[in-house]
Structure formats: C-alpha cells, structure tokens
Amino acid sequence: MTTDSPATGDGVNGLITDWASDKDAFKRVSWGKTMMWIFLLSDTFIFSCFLVGYMSVRMTTAEAWPNASEVFALTIAGEHLPLLLIAIMTFVLITSSGTMAMAVNCGYRRQPKQAAMLMLVTAALGVCFVGMQAFEWTKLITEEGVRPWGNPMGAAQFGATFFMITGFHGFHVSIGVIYLIIVAAKVWRGDYRERGYEIVEITGLYWHFVDLVWVFIFAFFYLW
C-alpha cells in the first residue's frame, strides 16, 4: 500500500476524505503494518471468545470457584505470599514491552545493532516468562492436582479454562520469541539497510499485543 494520493485534512474531515478517496483508505500506514494490525484484531476476537467462555462457565457453576489468590500463592522461606509468581511474570512481561519499545526507537534512529540487541533482550525476557509459566503449570498439576476435568479446590471448570487460556497465551509468547529472534538476526545481518526498519515496529506490535492480552488475563483470571 503506497501512499500515492496525498492525505488531506485532519480529524473528522480527514476521516471522511480518507474513506471517500476511493483508493487507499489508510494513509501513511504501510501494507505490512496494516496486515499485522488486522491479524491482531482477529487474535483479539479469539482471546475474547476464550475469556467470555470463561465468564460463562464461572457464572453458571453452582460450586464455589477456587480462590486464585490462594491457588497461585507461593511459600518462600516460611512466608506465605499470595499470587507472587504471577506478579513477577507480569513485571517481566512489562519490562520486555519496554525493551521492545526501545528496540523500535533504535530501529528508526538507524542503530540496527542496538535494535537487534534489544530485541534479543526482549526475547530472553519472553523465555523467562514461559519458563515461569512452565513452573506454574508443573506445580499446579503435580502438587495441587489440577486437571482440565476437575480439581480438589472447587468448580471443575477451573482447570479447563486455566489451561486453555494461559496455554494459548504462553503459545503466543513462545511464537513471539521465535519471531523476535528471526527478525533480530535479519536486522543484525543488515537485511533492512535499504528498506528501513519498520519491520522492528511491526514485530513490536505483535509483542505489545501479547503483553496486552496478559493485562486482561491477569485482571479476569487471577485477580477477579
């Protein structure tokens, strides 16, 4: 999508002229970025369906829902800390979003080496997140006896929704790590010297989206 026709007007007038221009509606937005956003839009619907499904089973069950604050508590050195691991995971993901934003900035400043390094740092934080999630799953399955079809703490649907929602999110993080490493390697190699570094921003969109989904999972699944 090249920006052939000039963009005229801003605000609401800009909205009308953009849609009425009979050609490219999205000025100053490249094809790649548009497509990434449309993919993220479809992903929004997938995660929303999961969360709405979770809402439905949690509202319909006649049994008590397990108290997430207690289920995900950690005991460190005799100290009982509710939701500690989840809080650390949240901070790790936010940190990774910050390094990703820095990488995008470095890309546009034409500092490809720094951009690639920051993307690798982001990927490392992503691996850290998935590692903690693996630890959480292992603890839940082996120590607490949570299964997709039941658990000792309360409503049977807890396991099914937990494994599905966090599993799908963890899968997104894992794919994001692979995506980041591939793009970082290409940036480092100098593949984008001619074309510019918008690819870093597009990769960043995906990564920020993964963080965005976690904000909703954290609020609805762990805190509610």
Partner: protein
Amino acid sequence: MQTHNQSEGHQQHPISVYFKVWGLLFVLSSFSYLVDILQLQGALRWTLILVFMFLKAGLIVAIFMHMVWERIAFVLAILSPPLCLLVLIGLMASEASYTHLNRLIFFN
C-alpha cells in the same frame, strides 16, 4: 503530533515518552497486585481491577503500539470492531445467569 516525522510514516517519538509510560505501567501493575494483597472485596475490588486494567491496556495500545499517532481512519478501523464483543458479553452474561438460576433450583 504532526511534528514527529510523520510524513514518512515513521513512528519516531522522544524516548522520554516511552520511559514515562513504562514507569506508569509498573505503578499500575503494582496497584492491581495491591488489590489482591490488601484483600479488597466486592464492588470496590472489581472496580479497581477494571480501572487499572483499562488504564494499562490503553497506555499499551496508545503509546507502545503508537495508536495516538495514527490517523483516525486507521484507528477506528482497528479499534471499533472489538466493540461488538460487548454484545457477546451481554448475551452470554444473561444466558449464564439463567443457567445458574436453573442449576440452583434443580441440582441443589
């Protein structure tokens, strides 16, 4: 907002903006964690969870994903479709309360 090299489609903004948002996200996450630590319950808990959640989501989409610097035509095309999810949530919530009521009457 027109000053940031936008004519080339570049999303280059001062680094200080990112650092401020980064810091804010940390603070907001700590607040949502505090909601659980302090064991706030009921309507207050749900309100605070939602407020912090929407603030965090808004900051990520607006600044980190650059939506405040995009043109309105693009922003609306991406951000307005998810609004129809509100209908789904409404339908499922009313259906779920009905099912819950029936389970309480017939299963217990």
